[in-house]
Each structure stands twice: as structure tokens, then as C-alpha cells.
């Protein structure tokens, strides 16, 4: 089943679902012909898109609204915050081409603060699937939840088979480790897998966790990582500020735990526009580059027992 298949099935079997877009049809090209008046394209109008979605939700609908992540979360930010956040209406906002997925578009199109600003709005939850399979596993539960959601759309091919056991607020633990735990969401999951392989080959017992929903966050998994491994690594195609690194640090401090946390994130600037493979290479986000940074930190502190 594809993303479109799931949406179409929901629309056909549940009268509440509507599919919207601000003229970004990359993920839903076939739906206009298939679902008729349950599809609305508002044109290049992100603010109106969100307002219309709120209006539909007021009438009992569950609108699934699509736009480029940058313009959806930033151009329409105050509409999301005011019309969706304050009301808590079940509007589902799907941001395309987030993080490194904007590839060569340049900084205008880089949504690398989207997780931070969306999670900062009361009532709004955030789902960042690791890849297409992970997205499709979680999609129904996220769309059927009574809460508003921001979804970081991610259709990259999966590197592994994911657990079908999906709960909002529950991470997917791929492996546990006593030396290092890699905490990751979204696109960077695939690189984290290869980073883990290298770390294991280098003799480090390395855990790997796919966070799945960043809000609500799986605090238990974070605290377990802080307790059981010597170094916690957060990996995200997002600014350092307000993303997973922030969440992990907040969680650890709030619960009076202690941990060494190494962030792999974009520092305070935009990334080099290029094709995905080259972006990862240039910015140091390949599995290999991540593993090297982690090993460097491990050696620096002589964590090895």
C-alpha cells in the first residue's frame, strides 16, 4: 500500500477525511481524480490552506493538508498556532521535502527548524517517520488520533523492516547498547543504521532507537539510554536548537538524570544545497562521518572499559 492508497481508503471508509493541498501534489498526484469533492486545492496559499483545514475540522472533518514543510510551518506558522493549536482541532499537517529532503533547493526551501517550532505549539504533535515503510505503518494511527499532528513526510526507501507495532509516543528500539545509544528520527535513520554497524565493528556496543513521534516523546527510552549507555547521540537533519537534542537534554535534566549527550545536528546555519547523497557527504551526516564523530568523542573521554 502506498501513502495515497491509505489516504484514499480512509476517505472512502471514513466520511470525516478530506485531503487538502496548497498546490503541492507530489505525494497525492492521483487523489484528485479518485476522491472528487473530498480533495481541495487552495492554490499557493499556505495560510488559507490552514484556515480552511481548521474550518473543515470545525465541521467535524479530519483534513489532511499538504504543502512544502518550509512554507507550511513558517509562512502559515501563526495560522497553525492560532487556528489549530489554540482550538486543538484534529488538523493533520503534512510537510513535504523537510530537512535534507529539500536537496538542492537552497536555504529558502530548507525546513530545518520545523520540528522545533511545531513542537513548541501546545496541542500539536509531531510524527517524523524514518522512511516510507515507517510512515505507512504509523500513518493510520496518527491520522485517526483526535489530536492535531505535524507529519514530516518521508518517502525514502526503507533500509530495514520496521516493527508493525506502532504507538503514538512510543519509539522503535532497533538495538540496545551499553557503550552508545543512537537516538534518531526521520531521514537520518538510514545513516544511523550504517553508523551503528561501523561502531559495532569498532568494538562499541551500540544501541539504536527510531523515535517515530517526537511529540509526544518516548521519555522512557531516553532515560533508559541515559542510564544504560555511556554516550547518548542524537541525530537529526534539523538545527541543533529545539529539536531532538533539546528534547533529550530537557528530558534528562527534568528527570534528574545525568548523561553525556553528543548532538549530530545542523549548527546555526543552512546546509549546502545539493543532491541528497552529496549533502550528507558535504555536511558530515553519512553513517561513516557520524561514526567517526562518535568514536572521536568516545576516545576523547576514554569511555572504553
Amino acid at each position: 500500500m502506498t501513502y495515497e492508497d491509505i489516504l484514499r481508503e480512509l476517505v472512502e471508509h471514513d466520511n470525516r477525511f478530506m485531503v487538502l493541498t496548497a498546490e503541492n501534489r507530489a505525494a497525492i498526484r492521483n487523489l484528485p481524480d479518485q476522491i472528487g469533492d473530498r480533495f481541495i486545492d487552495t492554490g499557493i496559499t499556505e495560510q488559507t490552506l490552514v484556515g480552511v483545514a481548521a474550518g473543515l475540522a470545525l465541521r467535524g472533518r479530519i483534513p489532511v493538508a499538504h504543502a512544502l514543510a518550509t512554507f507550511l510551518t513558517m509562512r502559515a506558522f501563526e495560522f497553525i498556532r492560532t487556528d489549530v493549536g489554540i482550538s486543538g482541532l484534529p488538523v493533520k499537517l503534512v510537510g513535504g521535502f523537510s530537512g535534507f529532503l529539500s536537496e538542492a533547493n537552497g536555504p529558502t526551501h530548507q525546513a530545518i527548524e520545523d520540528v522545533s517550532i511545531m513542537r513548541g505549539i501546545p496541542n500539536i504533535n509531531v510524527f517524523c517517520p524514518a522512511d516510507e515503510e515507517d510512515m505507512l505503518i504509523g500513518l493510520r494511527k496518527v491520522l485517526l488520533s483526535p489530536d492535531p499532528f505535524y507529519i514530516r513526510y518521508n518517502n525514502v526507501k526503507p533500509a530495514i523492516r520496521h516493527s508493525k507495532d506502532f504507538e503514538i509516543g512510543k519509539a522503535e528500539v532497533i538495538a540496545e547498547g551499553t557503550d552508545i545509544t543512537l537516538l534518531v528520527y526521520g531521514l537520518m535513520f538510514t545513516e544511523a543504521i550504517s553508523a551503528r554497524e561501523i561502531l559495532e565493528m569498532s568494538g562499541y556496543s551500540t544501541g539504536l532507537v527510531n523515535m517515530r513521534t517526537v511529540k509526544p516523546i518516548d521519555e522512557e527510552v531516553i532515560l533508559r539510554a541515559a542510564e544504560s549507555s555511556e554516550l547518548v547521540v542524537t541525530i537529526e537533519d534539523h538545527f541543533l536548537t529545539g529539536g531532538l537534542y533539546s528534547i533529550v537534554c530537557e528530558t534528562i535534566v527534568r528527570n534528574n538524570h545525568k548523561a553525556e549527550v553528543l548532538p549530530i545536528a545542523l549548527q546555526d546555519t543552512w546546509f549546502k544545497p545539493a543532491l541528497l547523497k552529496d549533502v550528507l557527504e558535504y555536511e558530515g551526516f553519512t553513517g561513516k562521518a557520524i561514526a567517526e564523530k562518535v568514536i572521536g568523542r568516545m576516545k576523547q573521554h576514554d569511555y572504553r572499559k
Binding site: T45, T48, V52, L56, L58
Partner: protein, 285 residues
């Protein structure tokens, strides 16, 4: 419109103005904009809209979205007069034990959605109007816009989209009081002809005297003006209407009057007759 009906509307509007004036003390309110749309609110809720305390959850009711939310005292007053809320509740204005604050919120029966951030409600109304169309319902979706609010770009996005989607169940009403917060609209960002602008965006428009119930009745009589087009009515109004000392005064936007000033304004509204009553007694009456 029959004379006794007009008289009845006038009486309700007078009471709404008294409520607004009472809310202008002890913390204050946006008095000018509230007074300019008081007649419009009374006309719409009493005469035009199919919405009353008994059908607030009926999906077939008409909807009103107050996009220029700072004039919500006019709505509170109208709701108190028409039984949506207890009149006594208005005493809770700005108190933490209630939700009667400076902008509309959904905790007040009859208020359809949060507003106050300008330029939002037209798009929300479009969502509601689309759903009504899909369900073949004939309810009207009214949006009250301020003329100053028309500075917001999202209004013009919404204007394009409402026309493109042929939403003839939408009726936008501009409270044309010719002021924005601090200054006259035409001195800052001139709007000139609002009807021409919306016509160019694919709407069908008309104008009315926003303080004359018969004029409003004529404007609202034949909606939609054209099948397949959203309608817009420019209601020509006076900011602060009913209180000559406040009317069209640029600095009478947000006010917070003393008890004595509130009493004086109530006397002014009531025709200026001298009285021996104390301020408290005047306000309580």
C-alpha cells in the same frame, strides 16, 4: 420593514451599546469598533441569521465569524440581549472566573471560533462553506471584516480562493468605520473602493448604511447576489456610533474609563439628561 420591528431592533441595539459602555471601564475594551458594528450584530442575530440559543450545535445553522475580533463587546452584548448568555455574565468581563475577554473565544456559546488575530476568519469560513456545499446544506456563512483588517494579505488570498471555489454561501461584511487602530484607513493604506476590489477578485458586492436597519435589510434580502459568487457588503459605519464625544476620534480605539466617565457616557447615550444618581446607580440601571 415594519416600524415596530425597527423599533424593537433599535431598542436591542441601544441596550447592546449600554453593555459596551459598561465594558469600557474597569479594564476597558475596544469601544470605537464595538459601537460601529453594534447595529450590524443586532440586525444579523435578530433578523438575518438562522442561529439562536437552541440550535448552536445544529450543522444546518447559519455561521457568523467575527474576524475583527476586538469588537467582541458588541457580540457579548448582543448575545446577552438575545439569550445566548445570561446578562449577569457580562459583569464577569475580564475576570478570571469567566471567558469574557478582549477577543472572541469558543467558551462563549454562540462564538464559533477563536479570533482576534486579523485576517484569519475568512479562510476558516471558506472551510466551513466548502463543507456546507459538499453536504448540500443551504446555510449562510457570514464573516465580519474590519476595513483596517483588509491590509492583511491573507484576506486577499481568501478572496481569491472563495471566488475560485464558487462559494456563494459566503457573505463577507466589512464594518467600514474608516479607522484602523491609530489612524484613518484612507490616510495610512488607502482602500478607496472596497467593492471594486472585491468585484475584481470575482465577488458580487453591495453597500449599506450600517446603522440603518432598513438599509441593511435591503442589502441582505437577495443573497447570494449572483449564483456561484461569494457576496460582500460594505456596511458604512461610524466608529464610536451613538456617542458623539467618541465618534470618529482617532484616539478612541482602546479605552479604559473611570466609573465617572462610564456614567457620563451612559448619560450621553441616554440623551444627556442631568440626574442626581451616583455613577454606580447610573451604571447599574
Amino acid at each position: 420593514m415594519e416600524q415596530d420591528k425597527i423599533q424593537n431592533l433599535r431598542e436591542i441595539a441601544f441596550n447592546v451599546r449600554e453593555h459596551i459602555i459598561r465594558m469600557s471601564g474597569d479594564g476597558g475594551c475596544f469601544i470605537g469598533a464595538s459601537l460601529s458594528c453594534a447595529d450590524l450584530m443586532v440586525y444579523l442575530y435578530k433578523q438575518f441569521l438562522n442561529v439562536h440559543p437552541g440550535n448552536l450545535n445544529d450543522p444546518n445553522r447559519d455561521y457568523l465569524f467575527l474576524s475583527k475580533g476586538h469588537d467582541v463587546p458588541a457580540l457579548y452584548g448582543t448575545f446577552a440581549e438575545l439569550g445566548f448568555i445570561e446578562k449577569d455574565r457580562l459583569k464577569n468581563h475580564l475576570k478570571t472566573n469567566d471567558f469574557i475577554y478582549w477577543h472572541p473565544n469558543m467558551n462563549i456559546p454562540g462564538i464559533e471560533f477563536y479570533s482576534g488575530s486579523l485576517g484569519h476568519s475568512l479562510s476558516v469560513a471558506i472551510g466551513v462553506a466548502i463543507d456546507c456545499k459538499i453536504k448540500n446544506q443551504n446555510n449562510k456563512v457570514v464573516v465580519i471584516l474590519g476595513d483596517g483588517e483588509l491590509n492583511e494579505g491573507s484576506i486577499w488570498e481568501g478572496a481569491l480562493v472563495a471566488a475560485a471555489k464558487k462559494l456563494d454561501n459566503i457573505v463577507a461584511v466589512v464594518d467600514r468605520n474608516k479607522f484602523q487602530a491609530n489612524i484613518e484607513t484612507e490616510k495610512l493604506i488607502p482602500l478607496n473602493s472596497i467593492t471594486d476590489k472585491f468585484e475584481a477578485f470575482g465577488w458580487k458586492t453591495s453597500s449599506a448604511d450600517g446603522h440603518d436597519f432598513e438599509s441593511l435589510e435591503r442589502a441582505f434580502a437577495d443573497l447570494p447576489y449572483e449564483q456561484g459568487k461569494p457576496s460582500l457588503i460594505v456596511a458604512d459605519t461610524v466608529r464610536g456610533k451613538g456617542l458623539p464625544s467618541i465618534e470618529a476620534q482617532a484616539h478612541r480605539w482602546f479605552v479604559n474609563f473611570s466609573k465617572e466617565e462610564v456614567a457620563e457616557l451612559l448619560i450621553e447615550l441616554r440623551g444627556g439628561k442631568k440626574t442626581d444618581l451616583t455613577s454606580e446607580e447610573i451604571i447599574a440601571r
